[in-house]
């Protein structure tokens, strides 16, 4: 006899609300942990206490003492993190050591640049990859297949920083470098997903019944490959965000990527913690947004 199990009926709305609440709690926990991890790494890094300004011979002993006092609060990492979280609740994200400006204003100034560069780059990458993948799958000619694999393979083999340098030499915009960094990853996965969907028996049956290729694509292929493509879209946000670091640093674009590079080089604890929290938050929100979309499209399978 099967063990009895109580079945509690839940309305679809309550089920979705429960899932969203759980997901938000996970995001909050991961973001907080990410910030703490970043703060701990900076604190434990060799030479954390060193401050170049202390070497300035024009500074008096009192001034050097004042500089040390200013950093004393960062020695206890838990204390620093709790103070940071309290400040963040009030909208105060601290002051950057290296740039001497409030972190909030730095993020506000630079975020639009990154959003524009990464956004256009991502759109271009998706346009190139999906056009190539669809062309290869729709016409099924070896020439398209070889062209797509060769082009994506070539860009997959070039380091992101080299693509950024090449864009500087060729005077190409930074978003093109980001597009070329992200494009091969999208192409490889979307090509595989579409090929798998096209190889399903019901597609052969639909073709045998005389359905047009456009109709097959819209009604039979995209519903199968779509959810995974949406999940891929969420992941590509993280890839594009990572690509902004070499692109903005080498192309001289004043965005979040360049700020992250500067913060890392100068071991700017307040800035690094905020950037880690921001990057983690954006990545997790993009992935969760993709999950919600999949859930809305195919509620039973999500």
């Amino acid at each position: 006899m099967l063990p009895s199990k109580a079945i509690v009926w839940q309305s679809p709305l309550a089920r979705v609300a429960g899932k969203v609440a759980r997901r938000l709690a996970t995001i909050a926990a991961l973001v907080l942990l990410g910030g703490l991890l970043s703060a701990t790494m900076v604190r434990l890094a060799p030479g954390f206490d060193a401050d170049e300004r202390e070497l300035d011979p024009s500074l008096s002993a009192e001034s050097v003492q004042a500089l040390r006092q200013a950093r004393a609060g960062e020695h206890n990492i838990v204390g620093f993190y709790v103070a940071y979280l309290r400040g963040a609740m009030r909208g105060d994200l601290g002051i950057s050591h290296a740039l001497g400006q409030p972190v909030q204003s730095l993020l506000r100034e630079r975020w639009p640049v990154t959003l524009r560069v990464a956004g256009i780059g991502l759109l271009l990458a998706w346009l190139m990859a999906s056009t190539l993948a669809l062309t290869a799958c729709l016409w099924q000619r070896q020439a398209y297949e070889i062209f797509g694999i060769t082009v994506s393979g070539a860009f997959l083999c070039i380091p992101a920083a080299v693509l950024a340098l090449l864009s500087v030499i060729l005077e190409a915009p930074g978003y093109l470098a980001i597009a070329l960094i992200v494009f091969p990853k999208i192409y490889r996965y979307s090509r595989n997903l579409l090929a798998k969907a096209y190889s399903l028996p019901h597609i052969t049956a639909a073709r045998a019944r005389g359905l047009g290729e456009e109709r097959i694509l819209a009604w039979h292929v995209l519903p199968v490959a779509g959810p995974q493509m949406i999940a891929l879209a969420g992941i590509t946000v993280s890839i594009a965000l990572g690509a902004t670091i070499p692109v903005e640093a080498l192309c001289g674009l004043p965005g979040i990527g360049q700020l992250a590079w500067q913060a890392a080089l100068s071991r700017d604890l307040p800035l690094l913690v905020n950037l880690t929290v921001l990057v983690t938050l954006v990545t997790l929100l993009a992935n969760s947004g993709a999950d919600v979309m999949i859930h809305m499209l195919r509620p039973r399978e999500a």
Partner: protein, 268 residues
């Protein structure tokens, strides 16, 4: 093995052999300066010309290739062992351990790879001897690159934990580490090998990115990253095309690695 894979294997082995023979093939040491010929074009003495401080570029490419090609597999080995320990054990133990390991890997994977790498590398001392900088760079790659492999391994080990033969082994009285080592690890080997081979090109590219951003191997020791940094001063391709040789070599080696890894392994 098809023709393309054979050719790729031959290319990787040839480049490895050439780099290992650098002591005999290179006309000079990687740090020897020819002060009378800085920035010289290719000639009989200097096959790829010299860099801005007069060092033979051909010698530096050979020695740099040796460092990148030998240490990337070492870093891949570290990351695969870590992935097996975290992912494999968590998948085998299941329950709260699996959830904890997945939460930890999710935390690592939620940060873009380059962001994490640059942050951690910058936190390590930058003003160190070249040998120490090589060790730091590749150790960081190995210690940070395990998360994606651990995710794959935890799923495989979780599936094995619930398989019939493991259940039978348990029923026969085999438990704990013995069961893990005798029945689970051998079945994880194909996944471990795949993750190891996938990690090598990823780490080669990561080292190149770090080197270009000035966070890789310290001068005068060459690596593909530091060699590619030379591109920063390039104004046009037509002027000095021989400066593109390290990029072309990197592309050839990376393409060979891609051909060596089957499509299923790459998408695993």
């Amino acid at each position: 093995m098809n023709a393309a894979r054979k050719l790729a294997c031959l290319v990787v082995l040839s480049v490895c052999a050439l780099s290992l023979a650098a002591n005999w093939l290179a006309p000079s040491g990687y740090s020897k300066q020819f002060r009378d010929a800085p920035g010289a074009p290719p000639s009989r003495e200097h096959l790829l010309g010299t860099d801005e401080v007069g060092r033979d570029r051909f010698a530096r490419v050979l020695y740099g290739t040796r460092i990148s090609l030998l240490l990337a597999p070492a870093a891949a080995l570290i990351s695969t062992v870590l992935a097996a320990l975290v992912g494999g054990l968590a998948g085998y133990l299941g329950g709260v351990w699996l959830r904890l390991a997945r939460g930890f890997t999710d935390l690592f994977l939620s940060l873009p790879w380059l962001f994490l790498l640059i942050t951690v590398r910058a936190l390590m001392p930058l003003n160190v001897s070249p040998i120490v900088s090589v060790l730091i760079t590749f150790l960081i790659l190995g210690l940070l690159g395990w998360a994606a492999s651990a995710r794959v391994l935890s799923t495989s080990a979780d599936a094995l934990r619930n398989s019939d033969f493991v259940l039978q082994a348990r029923a026969s009285g085999l438990h704990g580490l013995r069961l893990f080592l005798i029945h689970v690890v051998p079945n994880l080997k194909p996944v471990l090998y795949a993750q190891f081979w996938i990690s090598i090109p990823v780490f080669i590219l990561a080292e190149a990115n770090l080197g270009i951003l000035g966070l890789g191997v310290a001068e005068p020791l060459p690596s593909w990253g530091s060699l590619l940094r030379e591109l920063e001063g390039l104004i046009s391709f037509r002027e000095e095309p021989w400066r593109l040789v390290p990029v072309l070599l990197l592309i050839v080696v990376m393409t060979s690695f891609q051909l060596l890894l089957s499509n299923e392994e790459v998408t695993a």
